[in-house]
């Protein structure tokens, strides 16, 4: 399956309080990681609705990375455990539907672990590159998600 021209598309869901800051730290320290990953900031890894994962895969992603605070360090007490449980169940469903288990990965990275985050991202991109494209989207079929405009603006 290995294709020299294949550039994996990877969606990374990161927690605002740790992994996203680790990525920031990697940036300020000029540590480099593969540009294949598109990081999305969530307020907490517990915010990760499995719908996001399915939408990413149906929209053409080749791998999904989830990263949150270390166990016990969650900014919202214990929501990273919820993320862990959702990750495990989502993974079971996706494996049953024919996806290679390596395409969905979860790890913990604190705001101080810029170097660790960079190396994990690079490792993950390498794994996905070896697995090849996922192609879970049909030709000419676009994922459609109904978008409702926000009716009321809530000020912070």
């Amino acid at each position: 399956m290995t294709n020299d021209n294949f550039e994996p598309v990877i969606i990374g869901f990161t927690c605002n309080w740790c992994s996203y800051r680790a990525a920031d730290m990697a940036g300020t320290a000029r540590m480099k990681y593969a540009p294949n990953i598109r990081l999305i900031r969530l307020m907490c890894s517990g915010r990760l609705d499995p719908t996001f994962i399915f939408k990413a895969l149906a929209g053409g992603a080749d791998g999904i990375l989830i990263s949150g605070c270390h166990p016990g360090d969650c900014h919202y007490i214990e929501q990273n455990y919820k993320a862990l449980r959702r990750f495990q169940l989502t993974k079971r469903v996706l494996i049953q539907m024919g996806m290679e288990p390596e395409r969905l990965k979860l790890f913990w990275a604190s705001a101080a672990e810029g170097a660790f985050l960079t190396s994990e991202i690079n490792k993950f991109v390498k794994v996905i590159r070896e697995l090849g494209p996922l192609n879970w989207n049909e030709n000419n079929f676009r994922v459609q998600i109904p978008i409702h405009s926000i009716e009321e603006e809530v000020l912070a």
Binding site: A58, P71, Q88, M97, N135
Partner: protein, 330 residues
């Protein structure tokens, strides 16, 4: 020459249960006959496709379309009825979200065909397979072509309303028919296009009379293995009940009869991917923070993909297993 508005009902890939549900409205069926002229309803009366072809565009007022799109014939009739109808309703779970026929999207189409024609339960010693186009001395014969994936009606044509349920409950059908008749008389207005009709907005849990507490699950089990408490929430007892993501409309029939909700009314309002919502709900209530213990608890869910996508696979974001969906790439 009658001036009554015209009514049609069609079945594509479906079981016929939707038609039975329509007949189960009992004497209200007379109101249908009183207010409508039934022009096309293959299950109930003799009609030919060419009769529909001959109609003017938009001549049929109301078409209830049940069944999903499995082959080229289904798609052709869906497009034809869309053209000829003012109001097209995706009627029942198959048309709205794929339902049981949609489970075929777990399997690549060549395996589906092999299971139908080449397994020991089928007597087919010469392994004869359907051929869409076939030459005989009298001319050329055509049968519909099977598609690699089951599609919902909305994935093929523009749909005005959605009526979920496997099948839709008869009292809900009666209410919808009453509404349409009131609209014809000018006493009511149709809901906005794209609405789900004949069902509520919330979930089955809202209609369920069982007691609900804070859920903490240490073990999942199948319903036949558990001694279930008749008054306590089934999910709380570790029985995988799909109520938390399923649209209300049935009146929580299964949980009140002691069986878990299997999700035939489809996703509740605002749910984008039914299975994802259930994954979220089930995983959240597992009472463990330990990776291995969580794995052990999840072993109790024997068939998670089947549990979460029994009715919704074709209408889900992924639309099928990887092997089935990527066939279309070749």
């Amino acid at each position: 020459m009658t001036t009554k508005p015209k009514f049609a009902m069609y079945w594509a890939a479906s079981c016929g249960g939707c038609e039975i549900a329509v007949l189960n409205i009992h004497e209200k069926i007379l109101a249908v006959d009183e207010n409508f002229e039934v022009v096309f309803w293959p299950v109930a009366m003799d009609a030919k496709y060419k009769d529909v072809d001959a109609m003017e565009d938009g001549e049929i007022l109301l078409t209830l379309f049940n069944g999903s799109i499995r082959n080229s014939e289904n798609e052709h009739i869906a497009k034809l009825l869309r053209r000829k109808s003012k109001i097209l309703v995706a009627f029942g779970s198959c048309a709205t979200e794929g339902c049981i026929p949609g489970l075929a999207n777990f399997t690549p189409i060549n395996e589906v065909i092999a299971t139908a024609f080449s397994t020991p339960t089928t007597e087919n010693p010469e392994n004869i397979l359907p051929i869409p186009d076939y030459e005989v001395p009298e001319g050329e014969l055509h049968i519909p072509t099977i598609y690699p994936l089951i599609r919902t009606l909305e994935q093929v044509v523009d749909v005005d309303y959605f009526m979920p349920g496997c099948p839709p409950e008869s009292h809900q059908i009666a209410a919808v028919i009453d509404l349409v008749i009131e609209v014809l008389k000018g006493n009511a207005e149709l809901p906005p296009k794209g609405s789900v009709i004949g069902a509520g907005l919330s979930t089955v849990c809202d209609d369920c009379e069982r007691t609900r507490n804070i859920k903490k699950i240490k073990e999942f089990g199948r319903i036949q293995m558990q001694h279930s408490d008749p008054d306590l929430c089934l999910l709380e007892q570790g029985i995988p009940c799909n109520g938390p993501a399923t649209r209300q409309g049935c009146g929580a029939l299964c949980p009140s009869a002691g069986a878990q909700c299997i999700g035939c009314y489809g996703p509740a309002e605002g749910v984008i991917d039914y299975g994802a919502r259930l994954i979220s709900a089930f995983a959240s209530v597992i009472d463990s923070d330990d990776e291995e213990e969580i794995d052990h608890i999840l072993d109790g869910l024997v068939d998670p993909a089947g549990q979460f996508y029994r009715f919704n696979l074709a209408g889900s974001l992924l639309r099928g297993s990887k092997a089935a969906v990527s066939v279309e790439h070749k």
